[in-house]
């Protein structure tokens, strides 16, 4: 009986604050005035911002997540070669892990706003003559890159930690054997290290993709209403339009995308049982 008594509080808590709200979200989205209906979804799809929000969200995930993975693997490989000072470097590289996405957005706002540090550099280099705005709807590409860079800056650390944890348990013998047989470092990386890291990569991708689809405060801080994404539209409908039904429809969209993405990663990056 003891183990059940020990897990009961957690089960109860998650039941009340996770399972029930999950069901309620579905009910909110698919019900209008007590009856089942797709009206909320119709309102959502007809909204002016809906198309942009979906496109922006997917673009952000498609650019930020792969780059985060590549950077994190690169950084993990660098860490492997660092002898003295490794702990210090790892600490510095994981600092963004503790930084709120809102704070990260504001940090990059300090850099890319009209009178920010980026423009100061460009001005000193003679590229621009006066403070330029990069964050308006007239400069969609610049706005997108500002948001993407802030997101990459903040969230690469989490991928790095997962990859580093994976690298630590890699058996050294394979790499040594590859060296003995004359494999180049690149070949031993692509043929041995990467395949062995697959489980870590899978975990990192699932976690990061789910979180990137709901990247909220970074976007709000830098783009505001000029850069709608699905989650910020959910917030707008809930907070400003006081329409929980449409907000919940947006939530359902994010949930569906997250589940599909997770399944895709689980299938595409599965490790055959024999290799475990």
């Amino acid at each position: 009986m003891l183990p059940y008594a020990l897990i009961a509080p957690t089960v109860l808590f998650l039941g009340v604050l996770f399972v029930i709200p999950l069901v309620q979200t579905v009910a909110l989205a698919f019900q209008v005035k007590g009856g089942w209906s797709l009206d909320n979804f119709a309102t959502m799809a007809d909204d002016l911002n809906f198309h942009d929000a979906v496109v922006n969200t997917f673009r952000l995930v498609a650019v930020a997540v792969p780059l985060q993975l590549v950077f994190a693997i690169g950084m993990a490989m660098m860490l492997r070669r660092i002898g003295k000072g490794r702990d210090l470097i790892l600490w510095i590289w994981s600092i963004p892990l503790g930084i709120s996405d809102l704070a990260a957005g504001l940090v990059w706002l300090a850099i890319v706003n009209d009178q920010g540090y980026l423009n100061s550099v460009l001005f000193r280099l003679g590229v621009i003559a006066r403070p330029e705005s990069w964050l308006t709807y007239e400069t969609p590409a610049a706005l997108f890159f500002a948001v993407a860079i802030a997101e990459i800056w903040r969230a690469t650390a989490i991928v790095l930690l997962i990859i580093v944890a994976g690298v630590q348990v890699l058996p050294k013998e394979y790499g040594e054997a590859a060296e003995v047989f004359g494999a180049s470092p690149w070949k031993s990386f692509t043929r041995i290290t990467l395949p062995l890291l697959k489980p870590s990569i899978q975990t990192a991708l699932i976690l990061r993709t789910v979180l990137a689809f709901e990247a909220f405060a970074v976007v709000m801080a830098i783009g505001g209403r000029n850069f709608p994404v699905i989650i910020s539209e959910a917030f707008t409908w809930q907070h400003f339009n006081n329409d929980s039904g449409v907000a919940a429809s947006y939530a359902i969209v994010i949930m569906a995308i997250s589940i599909v993405a997770t399944l895709v990663y689980l299938v595409a990056l599965r490790t055959p049982a024999a290799q475990r």
Binding site: L17, M78, L106, T203
Partner: protein, 267 residues
């Protein structure tokens, strides 16, 4: 070979700069004084330290209160996550029981779903039972974010403490509870502390749920988000700086356990 080494060192330095320079810039925006805020083009070395900007920020009506709310919410989250999560972790580590696998799955599932979204229906429910716009209500949602982490990490913490030590304590006449308190808990304490700190940071940093679930009792993040479009830049930068400082300190405190934790929690 030396060229290789130089390139490598340059690469490592570049990544450090990529992480640190933006933090440096927000710090010099927040503590550089009025001169930096209005300067064009911006100086890269801050002009003397000055607390003017931070003090002006803190003097704004509602800022102090929101910082206190943030601390309160994070503290409640921390206590709830540990009190609920550690026993569950102990159960997973020490017992084989029917339902252990589905339980683990339930815990993992909360992480695969975008948890921020649960805040939407909870606003309705919280208004009904009087938890809307309270620190406790926000802390409850933050606990669902921190709890899976607390359960999984404490499970592996307890697993790493040899069962024999506990059995020895039983042989010498300790009850199960005594053995836990005198043998297991002291050994697991540093790890538990790290989990607690991480739960605190998760809550301190959370924006969406905190914003949706409150109007007046706002956390610092919810406050900053609410005033985002209408406040001068110095307010935003000072706020960001105050958000970052505790997090960076906390990450420093748990740096040893940090990635052991993440490695474990994501296996």
């Amino acid at each position: 070979m030396t060229l290789n080494r130089a390139l490598f060192a340059a690469g490592v330095t570049a990544v450090c700069a990529w992480v640190l320079v933006p933090i440096w810039l927000i710090a010099s925006s927040a503590i550089g004084g009025q001169a930096v805020i209005s300067a064009w083009p911006k100086p890269f070395l801050p002009i003397g330290g000055s607390l003017d900007t931070l003090l002006r920020f803190l003097a704004i009506d509602g800022v102090w209160k929101s910082m206190l709310v943030s601390v309160e919410v994070a503290a409640i989250t921390m206590v709830l996550a540990i009190c609920l999560g550690a026993p569950a972790g102990y159960a997973l580590a020490r017992f084989k029981f029917r339902g252990a696998v589905p339980f683990r799955l339930l815990v993992l599932m909360t992480r695969a779903f975008p948890v921020a979204i649960l805040a939407l229906p909870l606003t309705v429910g919280f208004i009904r039972i009087g938890l809307y716009d309270t620190a406790f209500g926000v802390a409850l949602v933050h606990t669902t974010l921190a709890l899976p982490f607390a359960v999984l990490v404490s499970a592996s913490l307890f697993q790493a403490i040899p069962h024999e030590l506990e059995e020895a304590a039983w042989v010498f006449g300790c009850s199960r509870v005594q053995a836990f308190l005198r043998v297991v808990l002291p050994l697991g304490a540093p790890g538990i502390a790290a989990v607690a700190i991480f739960a605190f940071v998760i809550s301190w940093n959370e924006v969406f749920a905190a914003s949706v679930l409150s109007v007046r009792t706002r956390t610092l993040t919810a406050y900053l988000l609410a005033v985002l479009s209408e406040s001068p830049l110095y307010v935003q930068f000072a706020g960001a700086f105050l958000l970052i400082v505790p997090s960076v300190l906390f990450i420093f405190l748990v740096r040893k356990q940090l990635f052991a934790m993440w490695g474990i929690a994501n296996r």
